[in-house]
């Protein structure tokens, strides 16, 4: 660590809060343009999808346990299970698969 930890934390907070608050302050009126609305609607799904794959495959001790956990999570989410159920089930899947294969 080069500087005091609180200095690092302050910089991180300053940047992440600015990112979050500026759109709230600048955009005081709704945009009616349907292309911009569509863009904003798609952003979170695409960002999360991009961040999830292939990163999830390298998040555990083995690519096999992670791959199976991914499949389990997709099936459960598809059938409408809650966020907590999906997250917990993927963790438990990794635990079980790694007990078997490792």
């Amino acid at each position: 660590m080069r500087y005091n930890a609180y200095l690092y934390i302050a910089v991180m907070f300053g940047v992440s809060y600015l990112i979050r608050v500026l759109p709230f302050l600048v955009m005081r009126r709704p945009i009616k343009n349907k292309y911009i609305q569509s863009f904003l609607y798609y952003v979170p799904y695409v960002t999360l999808a991009v961040m999830t794959f292939p990163a999830i495959l390298y998040a555990t001790g083995s690519i096999i346990s992670a791959g199976i956990a991914l499949a389990v999570a997709i099936v459960l989410a598809w059938t409408g299970r809650s966020l907590f159920t999906v997250a917990a089930a993927s963790c438990i899947t990794v635990l079980i698969v790694e007990l078997i294969i490792l």
């Binding site: 991180m12 999830t52 292939p54 998040a59 966020l83 917990a88």
Partner: protein
């Protein structure tokens, strides 16, 4: 009446914040293990998580701190890892009542995260800030305490449990993107394309050399700009939607009568 409404919405937010908070706790625990390795103590981890509320952003920051980074480097990596919140805040600001007092805007901005954004934006009509406050009141402390507990207790956990916790974050992401993908073909197509493009970008020469944060930004912009041009959605203005619905029901009333006349 208005106050009662806000109270009910606040309670709904707290209810929906519980599963998110529990997921956060597990993910933050894993984050705490990394934070300890970087030399942060439990109090520093708590403050960092309370102020930042960002999984990918905090991971990136902690890794940089461990790597002896300058403050400028920390600022840039935080900007890149959290840039998507700019878009999410932007999307949320579009759904606010234009007359909402400005202090709500300052407070709502604190806890814009992938999941809290997801549950707020998926509600109908204009966003009620009290929904987000209720959800954040549960989720933020669990995220912060989880980080501290990870710093204190992370080293005690067996390796296979740490490995299993590694997918918690991604499980949460999947539970956010899959339900709308099931309902809308365009979103399903986008999720599949995003998976494929992200995989390709991690393998291709040149692009794979970029940091994962930078790749995420580039792919998100390219895919979303293309999708919004090729598949623009109809405006989500609640008033317009209500008018459209009213027109449809009027037509339904008119049509059978006309049919009746013909008979």
């Amino acid at each position: 009446m208005r106050f009662r409404d806000n109270k009910r919405v606040f309670a709904e937010g707290m209810r929906d914040g519980i599963p998110i908070g529990l997921g956060y706790f597990a993910v933050a625990f894993a984050l705490g293990i990394t934070a300890k390795e970087a030399g942060l103590n439990a109090i520093q981890g708590f403050i960092m998580s309370m102020l930042n509320m960002a999984s990918a952003g905090e991971y990136a920051g902690i890794a940089s701190i461990a790597g002896y980074a300058t403050l400028f480097e920390i600022a840039v990596i935080t900007l890149i890892a959290n840039a998507r919140y700019l878009l999410m805040s932007f999307a949320m600001s579009q759904r606010l009542d234009p007359g909402l007092p400005i202090h709500h805007r300052f407070i709502m901005a604190i806890d814009v995260t992938d999941e809290l954004f997801g549950i707020a934006i998926s509600r109908k009509g204009t966003l009620n800030p009290y929904y987000s406050y209720g959800a954040a009141l549960i989720a933020a402390p669990l995220w912060s305490i989880g980080t501290s507990v990870g710093i204190i207790a992370g080293m005690i956990l067996p390796v296979n449990v740490v490995s299993a916790l590694g997918v918690a974050l991604f499980g949460m992401f999947i539970s956010i993107i899959i339900p709308p993908a099931r309902q809308e073909k365009v979103v399903l197509g986008l999720v599949i394309i995003s998976f494929a493009a992200s995989f390709a970008a991690s393998k291709l020469p040149m692009i794979s050399g970029l940091s994962s944060g930078t790749r995420t930004i580039i792919l998100t912009l390219v895919i979303c700009i293309a999708a919004s041009i090729l598949f623009p959605r109809e405006p989500e203005d609640p008033e317009e939607e209500a008018e459209e619905l009213a027109e449809v029901s009027e037509m339904e009333e008119v049509l059978p009568r006309e049919g009746g006349i013909r008979k």
